[in-house]
Amino acid sequence: MNVHSPTLATAEATTPHTWLEHAHEWVVTVDHKRLGIMYVVSALVFFVIAGLEASLMRLQLAWPGLHIVPPETFNRLFTMHGTSMVFLVGIPIVFGFGNYLVPLMIGARDLAFPRLNAFGFWIFLFAGLLLHFSFLGGEGLYGSGSAPAVGWFAYAPLTSRAFTPGNATDYWNLSVFLAGVGTIGTAINIVATTLTMRATGMTLGRMPIFVWTMLTVSAMTLFILPPLSAAQIMLLLDRFLGAHFFDTQAGGSAVMWQHFFWFFGHPEVYVLMVPGFGFVSEIVPVFSRKVIFGYATLVAATVAIGGVALSTWAHHMFSVGMGSTLNTFFALSTMLIAVPTGMKIFNWLATMYGGRIRFRTPMLFCCAFLFQFLCAGLTGIMLSVAPFDWQLTDSYFVVAHFHFVLIGGLFFATFGAIYYWFPKVTGRMLSERLGRWHCWLFVVGFNLTFLTMHVQGLLGMPRRIYTYPADRGWEMWNLVTTLGVPLQIVATLILVVNIVVSLRRGKPAGDDPWDAWTLEWATTSPPPSYNFEAIPVVASRRPLWDLKHPDDPDGPHE
């Protein structure tokens, strides 16, 4: 490296890094671990913002006839909440963890294309900023509203110029499009990494389940995200060049948008959920002190979910009037996908059965996950029955269902994952006591809010309404729903405090605090930038067990 003057060089070498130099290092990094951390941290920031938007909505709905926010603001809140939670929280959480863990778990030094990885992160981050800039810039020259207010699935013809003038909808369209570009890049990266960068002996059949889930959802992403991007290009052409893709006045079809959107939108749920299954599949065995039960069936179920998920999308459209053939097909495919998902639940239960279970915080969250996600799956099967769906479509029952999936499923698993891998990422343990408070408060708050929503839905309360009259019998349920919110806010605050405090004062973790078996625990905490001093050689599904117990390696038992 060329330095202009020797004095400068010595000064650089002796003085500690300034804040600016630190920031610069993070901005120019192509290290998968740093990018993974940045993904997850930005996702948690967007999670807090989107959570506050939801809290405002719940405040508005706490009692009949309230006017805490104006109606048009309410529409913006649910649009921004949904869009953020899916594109700026769920996806970056999943791909952030994948970024961090996949190379470590398969014994690689980085992802296959580190610069593409950095590109993916930064374009995602700026897409998120663009979306939120709409609060300031969406007003534009038209004075017709700030943030987008078309709902997170932005149905046509509401998105046409006639119904949403101004640029608010374009902010939604372009920022989600950009986020999608970044995600496609990262998905290509993860597929290429898992297929070509594995350490010696790390065969496909020995990959940790989490890596399998990331491979599956990355491959799915390549099939489902470009169609959304294509539909968004069409919407852009409709809005700016006068094309008629979704313009019913000129013979176009508004239903086509629904098909294109849900062809992305439904598999997307599995893209978010399946890595959650991966977290649970890594955590449950370690805290049950047993090998995962039925590795092969778990992998098969993962891949099966990935495949079947591509043919379930139109169950979001039973009430559109597709005709009985299509309704039947999509009802059956939706019921079918419950089979591999159910298999997984039994896999985890069988892993715990007879194990010496250690109820540390990651395991607590996984146990909560099992209960909550089972509920989510059962209401999912209920909604797959088309006539039942006709009764409850667009009601709070549906809202309750998908929040059970994404919070009860994905987020409980993610919280568990944060407690489980935080020691590896930072070298320090999170506080177990605060973790317990976080878990229990969140379980209680979550159920107060979302279990009750099922009832409002059954009583006929439609989603996305701004307020409601007092004579429907919904007021008590809505109040309870809203009362669950502060508990979840406190629980999330506890997590934030726990992270901030533990970063400075947490107990040093050591390389392998949980006595785990996968490769990421074989290196130091935090891992060096090159991950492993010597790339390990793998001989079984639990390489670290083999290292710790050379007298009783796993290989012969598999």
Binding site: R109, F113, I184, A187, L222, P226, L241, F245, I535
Partner: protein
């Protein structure tokens, strides 16, 4: 770079040299599903235009362009193969021929669009045919342009002596991309000019 190369040899469990190919296959799958949606939209709207001009009145099958583009796939493959043998000069020439054939195709598209817009008065907003025709053909044409940029760079590198036999895999990836663009054209030709008319 040296370090990475050394690692690849002694880690060697899985073939690291395949990662570029895996990445390109991933890109092609993603691009394929992007095109698929435009193709589906076009198929869905065939015959649903409320007013003319209709495709049978204004569209001609672009025979010359198609022949050029299909032929350019062969020349791209020859270029990649020549570099793998270490013949930089020949490789550069074949890639130049490929780019030339691609440029002829693109000129054909430009001419077609010019006639459609100024003679026949079909724009993207005229009817559903225009709405689905321009984005699908335009998306393909924009991919041809990207391919031409990559091929052009390869030609420049070959002419200036930067391109060497070690870059054979990268040039092969460019040729894969070009084959993909070619394959998409076969679908577009079938859907727009054969079925759509």
């Amino acid at each position: 770079m040296m370090g990475a190369g050394a690692d690849a040899t002694h880690e060697s469990g899985v073939s690291h040299e395949w990662r570029g190919r895996a990445g390109m296959i991933g890109l092609i799958v993603a691009e394929g599903s992007l095109f698929a949606v435009f193709v589906v939209a076009h198929l869905f709207y065939i015959g649903k235009s409320l007013n003319g001009p209709y495709p049978r009145d204004v569209l001609q099958i672009p025979v010359v362009g198609t022949i050029c583009l299909l032929a350019s796939s062969a020349t791209a493959a020859l270029g990649a193969r020549a570099l793998a043998r270490g013949d930089v000069r020949r490789s550069g020439l074949w890639l130049l021929v490929t780019a030339g054939l691609g440029a002829i195709f693109l000129a054909g598209t430009a001419r077609e669009w010019y006639h459609l817009i100024y003679r026949d008065g079909v724009t993207i907003g005229t009817n559903l045919f225009g709405t689905t025709f321009y984005p699908l053909v335009g998306l393909h044409a924009s991919h041809v342009i990207v391919g031409l940029v990559m091929l052009g760079l390869c030609c420049v590198f070959a002419a200036t002596g930067v391109l060497r036999a070690v870059h054979a895999e990268r040039v092969e990836m460019v040729s894969w991309y070009w084959h993909f663009v070619d394959g998409v054209w076969v679908v577009v030709l079938t859907v727009v000019y054969l079925i759509g008319r």
